[in-house]
Point group: C2
Chain length 429, copies 2
């Protein structure tokens, strides 16, 4: 074993960074044995240098992240700052100055992954980011490497723990969205400003990264159709139950049937209780992958948190260090297919639509005519009457999303339709 | 991209091999793009050369596997023959003659993995074997690489599809073992001679491989305690149901609490219905991994079959070819801990014991005394009387397996105990 240590610079020392530093110290011997050389924490860039950081030599702390990545003796930079800047410039500077990079930054990779990969390749460095998607769950490596000889057709995942906790709470307790969000906040599963989670931004970034890796193409966060869970009601969950389904916020990446394009989207959807994703409870994540030869695979585990994310970062750190010692690099970006990303309107899916209608004869005929005119085939209809009001619940067969939206628009214009109570896609069948 | 192809020799052209050859042909462009060079099937060693093999150039077929691996121009040998010899000699000869090896041979790796790894290292070649454990499910790479910065404490898996199919059938239909085995055989899930599956040999080989990788040590198939499912009865499954459990054949690899030893075992066990492994149906496989930082992870998918196994083989083929092009090798054996494997008697677990006893006063006191003498603490007891006969179902707290076996032996000697109807371990709590 080489005795001269590999030098690691840590950018960011919050929940994840401090755990990375802790494990690097407490498990130093194991890491050295697995890498073939010791690793040494050579510097830690933070915003608040005065904060006490247990187990970290205060001499390593700096507020000058740029100077740290420019030192020239750093082998690997671990970036756990998050956000676009200064992370992007620091990573590029690290590549220029001889370091490979391990990052947990989903927002940056989903926004500008191609440029970062290009910079890594230009300078002959590694860019690893297992921690950016679904925390500790090995996903990037299985998709990039284990399935490299297969053809992935679909990725269907619960990739945001906060929203899964909220939806699971609504499902098990009958609570409404606000009540379930309050509980998630009280228990630390939701942040004070939960927007990134509940509006689906976090899941959309992960969907972009997963779609790019799965289909060997480039998908940016802006290509991902995104709907959050804030409008999911207790009534939607109850409707799902009646259909033998539950509601999950899904990230769905699909290759078109003709193979010439891909789609990526994040939205709440009903899935059958028999689907393996339906039993993913609380803040757990799981990703379901359908590949031509492998069939259906599922990867399950904690999708966030300091320790699980640190586990993913350290797995990458070991790999990148081994590559450094072998003077090699791991697999880089594989985007050779350059498939276009189709808009949401071209996605083929099913709708569950709940309508408040006038309780009089002929309403169903009117509604059915609208579906027929839009070319959307109805699977089932359920009518319920109550005090002069009535509700119609329609579940469609598979149709392009544009035709389904067009149908809903036309339904809203009917005099006999008082309102569209809810619209939800049905997936995983 | 390099235009000169990498040459692949295929040893074995049965269910898996023919699928590997097919995908290499039909997906040649994708494989070339992912590797950075085309791959060419340079020879196929078979036992029956006269058999028609669709899509394979007859000129590539040979019965002389030794000559094929000795050719000297082969970059990668794919070994899907199975068994100890001639596979072992062929793999070693391949290393000597410049080739890296992708193998699906669990029996060989569990018997002689250390020697094969040593040979690979001596000659600077790769030895990859994702397909040897749980078919298409990425497990070897996630354990070896994704979790390389973490500490795995436990691996709990359903790694044999045949036995899971049989137990699932018994659970859902109430069928006995023989009836369920017949159905598995009729549907092609069990072989004509099902011994390797139902007696746990197949699962034990996988347990040995998983334990070695998970704990960075060496475990051979002979170190794995093995019990099959042939003695599992419909009554056992019914008892499990009453406890809120189901019965699965589990491969369990554990690090001792003090970290100084490991254990590996395969046996039927009751697990709670709430455990993610309990819902693994039919011939699916799933492996549950507990790591210090990552927490609880699960990997799920088809554990056997031509296509899924070929997917795993081809993922390894892409990785090994990339390494060849980069003149590098991937991570080799990591067995630096060299932890001893403790015998089954030292495993700490729980028992569910069903006793037929005389229906008279004082029996429970006698039985309880035996448990106390052996130092085994009782969790629950259920008594049922019927026509002068009675049954006692005892569930213990955790105790060393030796103490539990000793207890059962002592119970058998009691006059009031007419028989021990069943003994099953309880896991996953």
């Amino acid at each position: 074993m080489r005795t001269r240590p590999l030098k690691v610079a840590l950018l960011g020392c919050g929940v994840v960074g401090s755990e990375v530093a802790r494990i690097m110290t407490t498990h130093a011997d194991d890491l050295a044995a697995r890498i073939g050389a010791p690793v040494e924490l050579a510097g830690v860039a933070v915003r608040r240098p005065s904060k006490v950081r247990e187990g970290i030599d205060p001499a390593l702390i700096t507020t000058d992240a740029t100077a740290l990545v420019r030192r020239g003796d750093i082998d690997v930079v671990v970036e756990v700052i998050g956000g676009i800047e200064p992370a992007r410039t620091l990573i590029t500077t690290a590549f220029e100055n001889g370091a490979s990079v391990v990052s947990a930054n989903k927002a940056l990779l989903a926004e500008d992954g191609a440029a970062l990969h290009a910079a890594a390749e230009k300078y002959g460095r590694d860019l690893y980011y297992e921690a950016a998607v679904a925390g500790a769950i090995p996903l990037v490596r299985p998709l990039r490497e284990s399935l490299a000889g297969d053809k992935v057709n679909r990725v269907l995942g619960i990739v945001n723990g906060t929203t899964n906790f909220i939806l699971d709470k609504m499902d098990t307790s009958g609570a409404g969205y606000s009540e379930a969000l309050d509980e998630a906040t009280a228990l630390g599963y939701a942040e004070a400003d939960p927007t990134a989670d509940v509006e689906g931004f976090d899941a959309a970034a992960k969907a972009a990264i997963l779609a790019g890796i799965a289909f060997h193409t480039r998908v940016k966060i802006g290509d991902v159709h995104r709907e959050g869970i804030t409008e999911v009601t207790a009534a939607d969950i109850a409707s799902a139950r009646r259909m033998g389904c539950t509601v999950k916020l899904l990230a769905i990446c699909e290759r078109a049937a003709d193979g010439a394009s891909v789609t990526a989207r994040v939205h709440p959807a009903m899935i059958p209780l028999s689907h393996p994703l339906a039993s993913v409870r609380e803040a757990y994540n799981a990703v379901f992958v359908e590949a031509e030869a492998a069939g259906q695979l599922m990867f399950y585990g904690p999708g966030a948190g300091g320790s699980p994310t640190a586990s993913a970062v350290l797995g990458d750190l070991v790999a990148v260090c081994r590559n450094k010692l072998g003077e090699a690099t791991g697999p880089g970006e594989s985007a050779y297919t350059r498939l276009p990303v189709s808009p949401m309107g071209e996605v083929v899916t099913r709708y569950h639509i709940s309508l408040d209608v006038a309780d009089k004869p002929g309403v169903l005929a009117q509604v059915a005519t609208v579906f027929a005119e839009q070319g959307v085939s109805i699977d089932t209809v359920r009518q319920q009457g109550k005090d002069g009001e009535a509700s119609l619940v329609v579940v469609t067969h598979r149709a392009p999303d544009a035709a389904l939206s067009g149908t809903v628009e036309a339904l809203r214009k009917l005099d006999t339709v008082r309102g569209v109570a809810s619209i939800m896609r049905v997936e995983g069948e």
